[in-house]
């Protein structure tokens, strides 16, 4: 039997049959630039900054993301909102995507859910300088991928949806507390106002 197996090369023929049949199975190639994978909600793509529904910036310039970043690619320049003492925002915000390791620690560090990651993974550009994201670019990305950013926050349990139940997704809006600046110093009239009233106040002054 062994000799006959050797002469007719049974094992080799078995292998060849298997390979031949494999030829008719459908391919598992994805024709990438033409067809794309569905990216899951928790996907860590390019970073973006989000705005609230009323269009105001979420970021309060606390620099916690800068502290959490393991590759030191974030730089926040914090400043007071003009005419609103103690109400802070990020005057400048730089994110060097060439150094970013896409760990998502910054989004976890953010107390107001201002940072979120989008599903954008095609970040190639011809000029490296375009990968130095500034505040403008990050907000642009956030506007373009707002739904993705919110889905990211939800997927990573950073938003339990309690603060803004009508949307199904909370905003974790940070309410600046009224402050006592001490004897003799007038308390700014803006503290404790709603955002619309505050903006009207700023526009007046």
């Amino acid at each position: 039997m062994g000799l006959m197996r050797d002469i007719f090369m049974t094992e080799l023929m078995g292998g060849m049959k298997l390979v031949f049949l494999q030829m008719f199975k459908p391919s598992c190639t994805l024709q990438y630039p033409h067809v794309k994978h569905n990216v899951p909600d928790g996907y860590r793509g390019l970073m973006s900054l989000l705005r609230y529904e009323d269009g105001s910036e979420r970021c309060v310039g606390c620099s916690l993301c800068e502290a959490a970043c393991p590759s030191n690619c974030i730089k926040v320049v914090s400043d007071e909102v003009p005419g609103q003492p103690l109400v802070r925002y990020a005057k400048e915000y730089y994110l060097d995507i060439t150094r970013c390791v896409f760990c998502g620690f910054c989004t976890e560090a953010c107390p107001v859910d201002a940072l979120a990651m989008t599903k954008v993974y095609e970040a190639s550009v011809y000029d490296r300088r375009e990968l130095m994201f500034d505040k403008h670019k990050l907000y642009e990305l956030g506007e373009a991928h707002l739904a993705d950013g919110k889905a990211y926050l939800l997927a990573h349990n950073m938003d339990d949806g309690t603060l803004n139940p009508t949307e199904g997704l909370g905003d974790n809006r940070y309410e600046f507390p009224p402050v006592d600046l001490g004897e003799g110093v007038p308390v700014p009239t803006t503290v404790g106002l709603t955002r619309e009233a505050l903006e009207a106040e700023v526009a007046k002054s």
């Binding site: 080799l12 292998g15 060849m16 390979v19 494999q22 030829m23 199975k25 391919s27 190639t29 024709q31």
Partner: protein, 337 residues
């Protein structure tokens, strides 16, 4: 006038045969990539043209415009000549390949460029010359990988050429001629006249030796990329590299064409009623079936070790072919008396 006609006929046939062979070489690379891809659940080239059909042309253009690098320590003359020595014998074998039944053209009879009465010997002789190209390429590159690849190629081709030649002898004994046209004509009249039925062992040994002879997987020791980078053409670039590539595929087509002529009836139709299909189409079908087989075994078998290769050639194939010759000779002797 007669001279002009003869020359015209020769040029006409050379143009046809070379055109078809070079086109087949180009599309053999495409077919190989596609079939291998399907065997590995991939799609293969898909971008250039519909289903990647223009890929060979794109590759050819790319190779043509690539920079030609000659290593500074290489022997420049031999380095330049080696690809040509490799390519010419691969193409020249088609001169004696009968591609169709005799037909009238330019006032003469066409069907084969030159019906040499020693056609088979001619092909075998030129196949050996091709080895020089490989060995010289390996030596002149002045690189250890190329050198090893060239030496391996020399050893392998000499060993397997023996088995290749010996497996053909059985066919020669049956048809009594070295002319490929006469061998084809002896197999006329249906597939039960084909030599493969009388010489099945010789066919198997021929195909195995042909795979080794053309340096194809699983016997691609001269260019074993996991050991020798790219073997004998490691240092070659651009068009010179393309020449080796062309030579490899032209050689494959040559041995498959030869196998069709020797064992599968060449341009003869398998059944009488199929005679309305022209002969060159039958030859192409048979050749491409064998070429598919070459790709198929490439997709199936891993590369053998070099000592196993040598052992298989000398201790298994050559004794089998010798025994085959003995039995064929006995059979022919008894049949004729």
């Amino acid at each position: 006038m007669e001279l002009a006609m003869t020359v015209g006929l020769a040029v006409f046939q050379i143009a046809i045969v070379m055109g078809v062979v070079l086109l087949s070489v180009a599309y053999m690379t495409y077919a190989e990539r596609k079939v291998l891809s399907f065997m590995q659940d991939r799609l293969g080239p898909m971008e250039v043209g519909p289903y990647g059909l223009l890929q060979p042309i794109a590759d050819g253009l790319k190779l043509f415009f690539k920079e030609d690098i000659i290593p500074s320590s290489a022997n420049k003359l031999i380095f330049a000549i080696a690809p040509i020595i490799c390519l010419v014998p691969a193409l020249i074998g088609f001169a004696v390949m009968p591609y169709n039944e005799t037909y009238a053209a330019f006032g003469g009879e066409a069907g084969v460029i030159s019906d040499l009465n020693v056609g088979l010997l001619y092909i075998l002789a030129f196949a050996s010359v091709g080895t020089y190209g490989v060995i010289l390429a390996g030596w002149s590159s002045n690189s250890k990988y190329a050198m090893l690849g060239g030496l391996r190629c020399g050893a392998q081709i000499i060993s397997y050429e023996l088995a290749l030649g010996l497996s053909i002898v059985g066919v020669l004994l049956l048809s009594g001629s070295l002319s490929l046209r006469e061998i084809t004509m002896a197999q006329d009249g249906g597939f039960w006249h084909w030599n493969i039925l009388l010489q099945p062992v010789a066919f198997v040994t021929y195909v195995i030796s042909a795979v080794a002879e053309t340096n194809r997987l699983p016997f691609d020791m001269p260019e074993a990329e996991s050991e020798l980078v790219a073997g004998f053409f490691t240092e070659y670039t651009g068009m010179r590299f393309a020449f080796f590539f062309l030579a490899e595929y032209a050689n494959m087509i040559l041995v498959c064409c030869l196998a069709s002529v020797l064992f599968l009836g060449g341009y003869e139709a398998p059944m009488e009623f199929l005679n309305f299909i022209p002969g060159f189409i039958w030859l192409a079908i048979k050749t491409w079936a064998l070429l598919f087989f070459f790709i198929w075994i490439r997709g199936t078998f891993p590369r053998v070790r070099f000592d196993q290769l040598m052992k298989f050639g000398w201790k298994v194939l050559i004794p089998i072919t010798l025994a085959n010759i003995l039995f064929t000779a006995l059979g022919v002797y008894i049949y004729n008396n």
